[in-house]
């Protein structure tokens, strides 16, 4: 083990230390990387780690004989999210590139005995390329399309390093960008490089980062605040969380480079309150960097001063909006302001403020260390680089993926995500969060970049991609978003506060089969006013989930209003449940039914009493044989076979 200096006073001292650590680690033969992302932890990853440690201890003599000493040549560590959450808990063994899925504590023994001692993979844990149990297995993770088709920049360290280990970060080119900026570039050159890279903000609107930074430089200033937006309010998006959880140093390095470019001396990272691990790891990283002289006064002897604090949100989606976020940082109610004066002039505490998203900052170190040209060589004409998407919903391989801009929706959903669960028909993909929209099947071949999505009435947003199959009701989806926004509206301005309430009431009655002639037009009129006359972007963007579903799925609204028909089988008042002949009489649904609506005996077909049934859907959820159908207007809308497209 080599000793870490107390503090780094020059760039060289940092580089020298990194070199020493590298040499020391050359003795590492094998690394076991346990994914400790939220989904894998929920699946028992930490219990597996405990078991593995026991097994490693128990097998220490044999391992030693095989040349593996735990702690030096054999390292076992917890990393951030590996991305393929659906198949978790995940374990990766390097350098063999072995990728294990669905790992349980009981597998610890066979992993030690078979893989570590004999060098053979544990077959049952390997990834199945066709998602079936007996299917062909992937020997290496690079054989898996989910990984092979990705290009990781913002996620470069995510899943490979232990986020709490400074040396791990350093070894993966940590602070290379910062050192390059401080030693070889002027602040103006840093801002120019970010501008030339074509990087656009990853937090939602896609505003060119370089342009924002340049306009900040033009403002006469005594002090500039630098803020990192880690509020990530988009439900269904979790990339910022994973970056903060799994690679906190990269985010801070990005901020330091920005601070150098912009002459900012003070900054905040604003983290959403539901992300305790991000808070923990970022706090740890900040404290560590302060102690090492990488935050504070005269960083690496360069004259750069930057103080960074962390602040937690209080649970309000609107606080992801920049002006509301700044009010929240001030300890106030998060009400947005009209943006007639830009925050680069008057932001936090009415002082000049530059605010960027987590993923935006996470791209900056690589842009500086590898060059603007390298970054802008990826992507499309106006959307450069890569983007992280959270692929969730009714898709087989849910998780976090990073691909160059311009990949089509089909490539992301089908090639990377493996298609729709149970190979059901695709109905829509929702992008852009609550201000985004739903795109239908005939848009699957669109290249995904900022401008294309916006043109189609959807939005890039923060990169959430929620895939929906035929058993989704688009009116219900619109109602869901409007309810979400109405709960999250700050309540200040009339079109947003009252408009959302009224749109919700109209959608609610439509989904209950009480829709009226003229309701669609009423919604459209209201949406128009919300869009043009709301005070902030929450209200202005709120109509899009409704307008996009009206544009692409208008017939579903009409069916609800005129025929009282819900083709997705979702709207409770318009559906009934029915048990089909495939029922084996296992009594499970009967036991779970909260209203005793199901009667039947063991091994005999069960029957649902419509009068007692409250359409809660539990019977269908617990049935292992797909024996419960959903019926609307006499038609089976959700049954065993994929329903009508």
């Amino acid at each position: 083990m080599i000793k870490r200096p107390k503090a780094f006073k020059t760039p060289k001292s940092l580089l020298d230390y990194a070199e020493k650590v590298k040499k020391d680690r050359d003795s590492r033969k094998l690394e076991v990387r346990i994914c400790a992302g939220p989904s894998c932890v929920a699946g028992g990853a930490l219990e597996f780690r405990d078991e593995l440690q026991k097994e490693l201890d128990a097998h220490a003599p044999q391992l030693k004989k095989a040349g593996l000493t735990v702690g030096t040549s054999l390292i076992e560590k917890c990393t951030g999210c590996h991305g393929m959450c659906e198949a978790g808990p995940l374990v990766i063994l390097e350098p063999m590139e072995i990728f294990y899925t669905h790992v349980k504590p009981k597998h610890a023994k066979s992993i030690v005995e078979t893989t570590l001692l004999e060098g053979e993979p544990v077959k049952e844990l390997l990834y199945s390329l066709d998602f079936t149990k007996g299917g062909e297995k992937a020997k290496h993770h690079s054989d898996i399309p989910f990984y092979a088709l990705q290009n990781r920049i913002a996620l470069k360290n995510v899943g490979t390093i232990d986020p709490t280990n400074f040396e791990d970060f350093l070894l993966n080119d940590g602070f290379k960008g910062l050192v390059k900026a401080l030693t070889t570039m002027t602040p103006e050159e840093v801002v120019d490089a970010v501008d030339e890279s074509g990087l656009r903000g990853r937090g939602g609107a896609g505003f060119p980062t370089g342009r924002k930074w340049k306009s900040a430089l033009r403002v006469k200033q005594d002090r500039v605040w630098l803020v990192c937006n880690g509020d990530e309010g988009d439900p269904g998006a979790f990339m910022d969380r994973v970056i903060m959880d799994s690679d906190p140093y990269t985010v801070i390095e990005g901020m330091l480079i920005a601070a150098y470019g912009l002459g900012a001396t003070d900054g905040y990272i604003y983290v959403r309150h539901e992300y305790p691990l991000a808070v923990k790891h970022l706090t740890m990283a900040i404290e560590n960097m302060k102690a090492l002289g990488l935050l504070g006064e005269n960083i690496l002897g360069s004259g750069l001063n930057f103080n960074l604090k962390l602040s937690r949100g209080g649970g309000a989606f609107v606080c992801g909006e920049s002006s509301a976020l700044m009010r929240s940082l001030e300890g106030k109610v998060g009400e947005p302001r009209a943006k007639y004066v830009r925050s680069v002039e008057k932001g936090f505490k009415d002082e000049p403020t530059v605010l960027n998203n987590v993923e935006t900052y996470a791209c900056v170190p690589s842009i500086i260390s590898r060059g603007a040209d390298w970054f802008s060589s990826m992507g499309t004409a106006k959307s450069k680089g890569t983007k992280v998407f959270s692929l969730v919903g009714k898709v087989k391989q849910t998780g976090l993926v990073e691909v160059p801009m311009g990949r089509t929706l089909r490539e992301i959903i089908y090639d990377i995500g493996g298609g729709i669960i149970d190979d059901r028909p695709f109905k829509a993909v929702q992008t852009g969060g609550p201000s985004g929209g739903c795109l239908p099947a005939d848009k699957l071949d669109l290249p995904v970049d900022f401008d294309t999505l916006t043109r189609e009435g959807a939005m890039m947003g923060s990169g959430g991609m929620i895939v929906m199959d035929d058993q989704t009701c688009m009116v219900d989806v619109a109602k869901y978003f409007i309810k979400f926004l109405s709960d999250e509206s700050c309540g200040k301005c009339v079109p947003c506060r009252e408009g959302l309430k009224q749109v919700y009431q109209i959608l609610d009655r439509i989904t209950k089969g009480e829709g009226r002639e003229g309701d669609i037009e009423l919604i459209e009129k209201l949406c128009h006013t919300m869009e043009v006359a709301s005070l902030c972007a929450l209200g202005k963007g709120a109509p899009f989930p409704v307008l996009s579903t009206l544009r692409f799925f208008r017939e579903e609204y009409e069916e609800h209003i005129h025929d009282k028909f819900c083709r997705g089988g979702v709207c409770k008042e318009l559906i009934n449940f029915h048990i089909n002949d495939s029922c084996t009489g296992c009594m499970v649904c009967l036991r779970h039914c909260p209203t005793e609506a199901i009667t039947g005996e063991r091994k005999k077909l069960h029957v649902i009493d419509d009068d007692k049934c409250i359409s809660c859907g539990i019977c269908r959820n617990v049935c292992k044989f797909d024996s419960v159908d959903i019926i609307s207007q006499g038609k089976i809308v959700a049954g065993k076979e994929p329903a009508m497209a």
Partner: protein, 255 residues
């Protein structure tokens, strides 16, 4: 002192010189051009909540069909700005906004009358149940804060947001909130020398001459503390105060 800089703007075809720093609404009002508003008050910071004051702007160097709706109570004047206060788009949105307000406060005479001026006699939307007359313009809270009492505030958020008095102890019974409320939604009772507001009853000091209420003792103590004037300055009858002020002016003049 240097002269205030002005810019030239056009509102509804009229050319106007407005001082830099003024908002479009202020400039319009100064020149007697009517822009409706509910949440604006010259005494407190503009808020931009009621959206009635929204107007359409163009700029002389923009392409001719480029226009935008902006909040006139917040939008600062700038050279060459062209403002339409009653364009079809503006009127359309004003109507929807009033329609929404009418659903919120169906019993408010003020809103009913205003909506009627725009041809809306009944709301297109579902009326709020058990509706009071509050339109959530936030004026009462801003006024209470400006006075320095900080007794009332908005609570909760979204459609559920409401105004209440979480700091009742701090209420000085000054009535500023009730008197600035555009829809008279804040109730108070004044009988003899008793005044009740926000469920809190105050004894009122009466004008020694005409027996009209002047202020509550709490209010007097508060203003006296804030202004540095003695408490009895606030309790004198109007006539006495005027006389004394004139006398002090006279003293200053002769010195």
């Amino acid at each position: 002192m240097s002269e205030t800089k002005t810019v030239r703007i056009t509102i509804d075809g009229r050319s106007i010189d407005a001082p830099v720093g003024q908002t479009v609404l202020e400039a319009a009002r100064q020149h007697n051009i009517d822009i409706p508003s509910l949440c604006y008050h010259p005494g407190v910071e503009a808020f931009g909540a009621c959206r009635l004051c929204v107007v359409e702007i163009r700029k002389h160097n923009w392409t001719p069909d480029w226009k935008q709706l902006v909040t006139s109570c917040l939008f600062p004047v700038e050279e060459g700005l062209i403002v339409e206060t009653r364009s079809p788009e503006v009127m359309e949105n004003r109507k929807v906004v009033l329609d929404l307000q009418l659903a919120r406060v169906p019993n408010s005479d003020v809103i009913r009358q205003l909506a009627a001026e725009y041809g809306i006699h009944d709301t297109s939307y579902e009326k709020r149940e058990d509706a009071d007359d509050c339109i959530m313009c936030g004026l009462c809270v801003r006024v209470c804060d400006a006075i320095g009492a900080h007794a009332i505030s908005t609570l909760s958020r979204g459609p559920e947001k409401y105004v209440d008095v979480p700091n009742k102890d701090a209420c000085i019974g000054c009535l500023a909130c009730a008197l600035t409320c555009p829809t008279n939604a804040i109730e108070y009772i004044e009988e003899g020398n008793m005044r009740t507001i926000w469920d809190k009853t105050f004894e009122v000091v009466l004008d020694p001459v005409n027996k009209k209420p002047i202020a509550t003792p709490e209010q007097i103590a508060h203003f006296s503390k804030q202004s540095g004037l003695p408490e009895d300055y606030f309790t004198k009858s109007d006539a006495t105060r005027k006389k004394e002020t004139a006398a002090s002016f006279a003293r200053v003049m002769f010195d």
